[in-house]
Every structure is written in C-alpha cells, then in structure tokens.
Symmetry: C2
Subunit: 124 residues, 2 copies
DNA sequence: GTGCTTGCAAACGTTTTGCAGACTC
DNA sequence: GAGTCTGCAAAACGTTTGCAAGCAC
C-alpha cells in the first residue's frame, strides 16, 4: 500500500461516480503532482482485481470508475452526454428474459444504456 | 456513388453483422487493395447519416457496423467475447421502466449488454 | 469545371507496455 | 535485501483530420 494508491482511493471517495482515469489523475495530481497516469491505470486495474473498484464503458468516451460499494448502473444520453445513475433493479426483467431465452446472465454495471434523456427527446 | 462506396455496401451485405471498420477494410481491400481505412470510416459515417447503416459499441473492442435493415441488439460475453444477436423486443420492459422512472428512451441497438454467456457462467 | 471523394500521413484520445530506478516492508 | 511500485517514454489501438490530387457528374 503506497501513497499513490492511498491517494487514488481517497479521490475515488471524493469524486464518487463517473470518474475517468483522466479525472482521477487530475484529482490525484492536485495533491501529488508527480503521479503518472500509468500509475493510475495500474492501480485501478489492481483495485478492480481486488473487487474494490468497478469500471463501466460509456459508449464513445473513456471508461468510468467507481467504488464497488457505490454500485449503480448508467443511462447515457447520446445527444447531450448526460449520465443518469440508476439502480440495478431496473435491469431485473431484462436479466430474467436474457437468462431464460439465451442462457446469458447480464452484468448491468459494466455497460451503459444509450438513448435519449428527457430533455433531448427526439424533437424532429 | 463511387466504387469504394459500392464495395463497402457489398461487404456489409456479405459480412452481415458484427463487422468492425477494420474487418470491413480488410474485406474491401481484398477486392480493391488501395482503399484506405479512412475512406471506410468516412463512408460508414455517411451511410449512417443516411440511415442505411448503424453502429454499436461493444464494450472494450472497436465499434461494429451493420445494415440498418438487419436490425438487432447485442449481448457480449465479457469472458470469451462471444456475441449473441438478440431481437429488440428483449428490451421492451427495460425501456418501459426507464421511460416511466427516468424519462429516458433507450436505443438498444447502439450499445452492447455485457455479461456471461451460457458457456462461461461463473464457475467459481 | 465544380464539388465531392480519395489516399496518404499525421494527429488524436485512451490505454498499455518496457525499463531502470525508488520505494515498502 | 527481496520484491513490488513508480515515473518516464514510447507504443498500441481505434478513430479522426488536413491536404492536395483524383474522380463523378
């Protein structure tokens, strides 16, 4: 357990939710300017292996990382990029039918659901 | 309408489903070696603008492109990478609850659902 | 001939890697 | 002192861009 790892964890608490590796690097660097982004990636990987941190793929942009204990899923607007955090139970019935029809167990924290947020509903 | 565009469309028919830009470039280049990958990207973008083609983000890897008329959604195994094509109606109830609870209309063709396929069910 | 399309090369943003030195225990 | 962790530089990957030459119409 090194100082950069400790700092990274602190920042994960602070910036809770939606932090990209870049965000985390900036945050960590505000307290320890010499911490390199590759260290951030390596530590995130390690923390993920330990089950402390999870990441999600949000469509185009970079992956976001958050603490595993702050478990939630993501809706991302493909128009304005807004991220809506939603509880895992929103996916219950999708999971049930995916399992029943395809034997596939979904991991809803690991991907983002793309679509349109309330404000961007197709205005054509 | 140029020859490289025509070829790209042909390849989209041939490789129907799950073709990355790279795959398509390789396929096109087998018939016309000088077509550059940037041309592939530009034509895919244009075809998408015209509504002929759609793309989906599959987690880590590159985006995949397919004809809009072959509409389907994707389950991707985070273990072995297998892609399972599924009909859009699998997402009906997720869409209903996302709309009702968050005013969010989902676009299920645009993202992949990550999880575990039948063969990779957590063996721990 | 006008204007869109192309190839090439170079850049981009995100993530990963190799290596030698520095740190933790 | 052994072994892990770090900074740095460079590469990898998928994708986008600027530009001048080439093509469709």
């Amino acid at each position: 357990m090194t100082s950069s790892r400790r700092l990274l964890l602190e920042m994960l608490f602070d910036l809770s939710g939606h932090a990209s590796a870049e965000d985390l690097a900036t945050a960590v660097q505000s307290k320890a300017p010499d911490v390199n982004i590759s260290t951030i990636y390596r530590n995130l990987e390690e923390l993920e292996r330990l089950g402390v941190v999870v990441h999600a793929h949000l469509g185009h942009g970079p992956a976001t990382y958050h603490l595993a204990c702050e478990s939630h899923c993501h809706l991302v607007c493909e128009e304005c990029g807004t991220i809506v955090d939603v509880p895992e139970n929103l996916f219950q019935s999708l999971n049930r039918s995916a399992t029943k029809r395809f034997g596939f167990v979904i991991d809803p924290q690991h991907f983002a659901v793309l679509g349109r947020c309330e404000a961007c509903q197709k205005p054509e």
